[in-house]
């Protein structure tokens, strides 16, 4: 966990390629896949121009999951470097109740959402790891 107080603006460059980002998603029934719809927005269903994520080193999987109402969410993990390699940007967007909040910008096409889904891994709680 970062010790920098909340609401303190930070240089976006402090987001390192090896940093991880958390995003809640509703897993698919059959194969537990990360659907590309995870990165679309209402009301249009178009790619989300500002995809909400949490910076892993400043939160915990539990905190990110708790922010979602239903309990059946899973947690997707994205690596900042991989997101950048796809041509997207990641910047901080701290909220009063969530200083770890960041956004991924640049998704414009269905394929952009699909590529983000492809690089999203699923968090497995330590209690479920064999």
């Amino acid at each position: 966990m970062d010790s920098t107080p909340a609401h303190v603006p930070r240089d976006p460059d402090d987001l390192r390629d090896e940093d991880e980002l958390y995003r809640r998603f509703l897993p698919t029934k059959k194969k537990g896949r990360v659907p590309s719809t995870t990165y679309t927005t209402r009301p249009t269903g178009n790619p989300d121009p500002e995809i909400s994520v949490d910076l892993a080193r400043e939160t915990t999987p539990e905190k990110t999951l708790e922010a979602g109402k239903p309990t059946h969410f899973k947690l997707g993990i994205l690596r900042v470097g991989e997101v950048r390699e796809l041509g997207f940007t990641v910047r901080r967007d701290p909220k009063p109740d969530n200083p770890a909040h960041c956004v991924i910008e640049g998704a414009k096409t269905l394929d952009d959402c699909d590529r983000l889904a492809e690089i999203t891994s699923i968090y497995i709680p330590p209690s479920h790891q064999s």
Binding site: R24, L26, T28, S36, P43, G45, G68, D111, D114
Partner: protein
């Protein structure tokens, strides 16, 4: 002349064999088509059940403000699945089973078939419109192709390419 007669006889024998073979082949093909159709029916039945479960999603189902699937999207999704079964069932069999079905934040539905090296994602919008994304990895390079406002027929053609090539 003798050689011609022999040749004709051989031809008759061959034709008879061919006819018998053809009948057996037809029966075999018919049996296979029936099995494929049954497998497709099962696959689509399961997909329809999965679709039905989306009906119970509520507002903010994704915790990012997503809308639940609209009635139009659910009906269009059902029409799509049943049309796919009708058009491709006897050829594709269990390959008609979608990779996954997922809700979209706008109240639409996403249904995906196939995986590497070829997949198609069908988008059913909240107002029951169709769009698709086809991704091919042939030759090791990711090659996406997407189109919106397409007809049901065009969508089925894209699905056919994926399930019949896999």
């Amino acid at each position: 002349m003798t050689s011609l007669k022999l040749s004709n006889s051989a031809s008759v024998v061959t034709s008879t064999h061919f006819l018998i073979g053809s009948q057996e082949l037809q029966e075999a093909l018919s049996h296979t088509a029936q099995q494929q159709a049954q497998a497709a029916e099962q696959a689509i039945h399961e997909a329809l059940s999965e679709l039905e479960e989306l009906r119970h999603l509520e507002v903010d189902w994704d915790s990012y403000g997503g809308n639940p699937p609209t009635a139009q999207a659910l009906i269009a999704g059902e029409v799509l699945l049943k049309s796919v079964q009708l058009a491709l069932g006897r050829y594709a069999g269990s390959r008609l089973a979608p990779e996954y079905i997922a809700p979209r934040a706008d109240g639409g539905i996403h249904i995906e078939w196939g995986h590497r090296p070829l997949k198609v994602s069908i988008q059913v919008t909240a107002s029951a419109g169709f769009a698709y994304l086809v991704v091919s990895w042939k030759n090791g390079i990711r090659d996406p192709r997407e189109k919106s406002d397409v007809s049901l027929d065009e969508v089925i053609q894209e699905i056919a390419r994926v399930v019949l090539e896999s």
